[in-house]
């Protein structure tokens, strides 16, 4: 399998838009997406690790970031994780700041899409990074937090499974729902670019769709000599499931 970092080093120069589907597994992308992709090895198994390695590549070119991820924000390292996105991007649009919806504990992809449309003209001068928070849970498709009458910070979906409140299959179902939702908005972005490329003076718009890392969906892995069932993407585990991500180049 090819290394994502090497491919990015080569391909970013020719890309107009990079779309990140947060925590998207390659096998699920292949199963549920209309877009052909190859599976590649991500340099990291969690977002922060990925950003620290990949961000310098964005800095080589002038990227405007439309980001629903709070790590990529225009205020600096406000989360105190030792990562400041500002030097790597020409401008950052903070969707987390404007569109975080506490009933779903995330930023709905509709806001990413709507902001992309407003920012589309910036493609005349710059490349664009579009960061969707899906298919990463929580699900944007249901008000999980309203259902459990709590805030995002008060519950952890993985803990709900451990406690038997949610079933393993619920996690997978929510992940697939989120993937299908974000793919719908990805297709909308592609359609929008296809219809309006002349507006930004381009004959062709090249879009790269990829992910920062994968996701465990209840697979059993060996950890410290024991077989354990894992969900999400724990920062201390680097496993092929977490490192295998889709990589799709689309010319419009």
């Amino acid at each position: 399998m090819k290394e994502q970092l090497k491919l990015l080093s080569k391909d970013l120069e020719h890309c107009d838009i990079v779309i990140i589907l947060d925590a998207c597994r390659c096998d699920y992308f292949r199963k549920y997406s209309k877009i052909d992709c190859e599976c590649v090895i991500s340099p990291a198994s969690y977002t922060l690790g990925w950003l620290k390695v990949v961000s310098p590549l964005f800095q080589r070119y002038e990227f405007v970031a439309i980001s629903s991820h709070p790590y990529i924000n225009s205020k600096g390292d406000v989360l105190g994780h030792g990562y400041d996105a500002r030097p790597y991007f020409k401008y950052i649009v903070d969707l987390w700041n404007f569109y975080y919806d506490k009933s779903i504990g995330t930023v709905h992809p509709v806001h990413v899409y709507n902001t992309f449309k407003k920012m589309f003209n910036m493609l005349k001068k710059f490349k664009m990074l579009i960061w969707f928070l899906q298919p990463h849970l929580p699900p944007a498709t249901r008000s999980l937090y309203q259902y459990f009458k709590c805030d995002y910070n008060d519950i952890d979906i993985v803990k709900l499974i451990e406690r038997g409140v949610l079933k393993d299959s619920d996690y997978v179902e929510m992940y697939i729902e989120n993937l299908q939702l974000v793919l719908d908005y990805t297709y909308k972005i592609l359609d929008y670019c296809r219809d309006r490329k002349e507006v930004v003076g381009k004959r062709e718009i090249n879009v790269l769709i990829t992910s920062d890392h994968g996701e465990f969906l209840g697979e059993e892995i060996e950890l410290n000599g024991k077989k354990v069932k894992v969900f999400s993407h724990p920062g201390n585990i680097s496993h092929p499931i977490l490192r295998t991500v889709p990589y799709a180049l689309v010319s419009l």
């Binding site: 401008y91 950052i92 903070d94 969707l95 700041n97 404007f98 709507n114 407003k118 920012m119």
Partner: protein, 244 residues
């Protein structure tokens, strides 16, 4: 002596230029206050570098201006030939066109700001298909403004805040270093300018920009101390409705 950070200036000009170059319909707010004076000056700098020919509007003064402010705004419009760069729209005219004053001015702050400031601006943005609205808000001026981002997507346009990360001292230092004209109301003790019923002077006045800077450097009083306290309290609500 305080020297303005040139990187901050360059960043603001680049931001304005990049958006003006990428969009076709851009409005710039010039209230006559120190911040929007700097914003307008930077916009003219940016426009001198722009290769495209977008349609520009300058939204000038306040809905109910202090008389001297109206005069200062007209002075800047003439001195900087703003007509050559875009269309001049007086806020008072927007109010006449889009609002009906059938209530007591400044009694209910939310209603007053909504009717005289927010609604006319919203309707203007809608009618003229404004794609980018550039305003001179600063983060250190009010905690509600500190929550903003330089690029702020709205329902039907993008709001741009090139001075969001400038401090009050930055603004006055820039005015001094570039010898920009100063609204005479500042020398009469106003520190922040807004509509007449809700704005008052807070000091006995200053003789020069140096005195203003020195006053602020020593701690002075809060910049918006002369703004109506009720309005300051409802800023969160006003901003959620579209006030800047």
């Amino acid at each position: 002596m305080i020297v303005m950070d040139l990187k901050k200036v360059e960043h603001s000009i680049n931001l304005i230029r990049d958006f003006i170059e990428s969009y076709n319909r851009v409005a710039v707010c010039f209230s006559g206050g120190k911040d929007s004076l700097v914003l307008t000056y930077l916009t003219l700098k940016a426009l001198s570098e722009v290769k495209s020919s977008p349609k520009i509007w300058f939204i000038v003064c306040d809905p109910i201006p202090i008389e001297e402010n109206r005069g200062f705004c007209q002075y800047i419009v003439d001195k900087w030939n703003l007509n050559d760069y875009g269309e001049i729209i007086w806020y008072e005219d927007l109010v006449k066109k889009y609002s009906k004053i059938d209530f007591e001015i400044a009694k209910d702050k939310i209603r007053c700001c909504m009717e005289l400031k927010v609604k006319p601006l919203r309707k203007f943005i809608r009618d003229e298909n404004i794609e980018v609205l550039i305003t001179a808000i600063r983060g250190d001026e009010h905690h509600e403004r500190a929550k903003e981002s330089e690029i702020s997507p709205r329902e039907d346009h993008i709001r741009l805040h090139p001075l969001l990360n400038w401090s009050l001292i930055d603004v006055w230092s820039f005015i001094k270093e570039n010898n920009l004209p100063v609204n005479p109301l500042y020398f009469k003790g106003y520190l922040s300018l807004g509509c007449k019923p809700c704005t008052k002077p807070v000091t006995s006045g200053f003789k020069s920009v140096d005195e203003i800077i020195e006053f602020l450097r020593r701690g002075g009083v809060h910049e918006r101390a002369g703004r109506d306290i009720d309005k300051e309290r409802v800023m969160e609500i006003l901003r959620s409705l579209g006030y800047f």
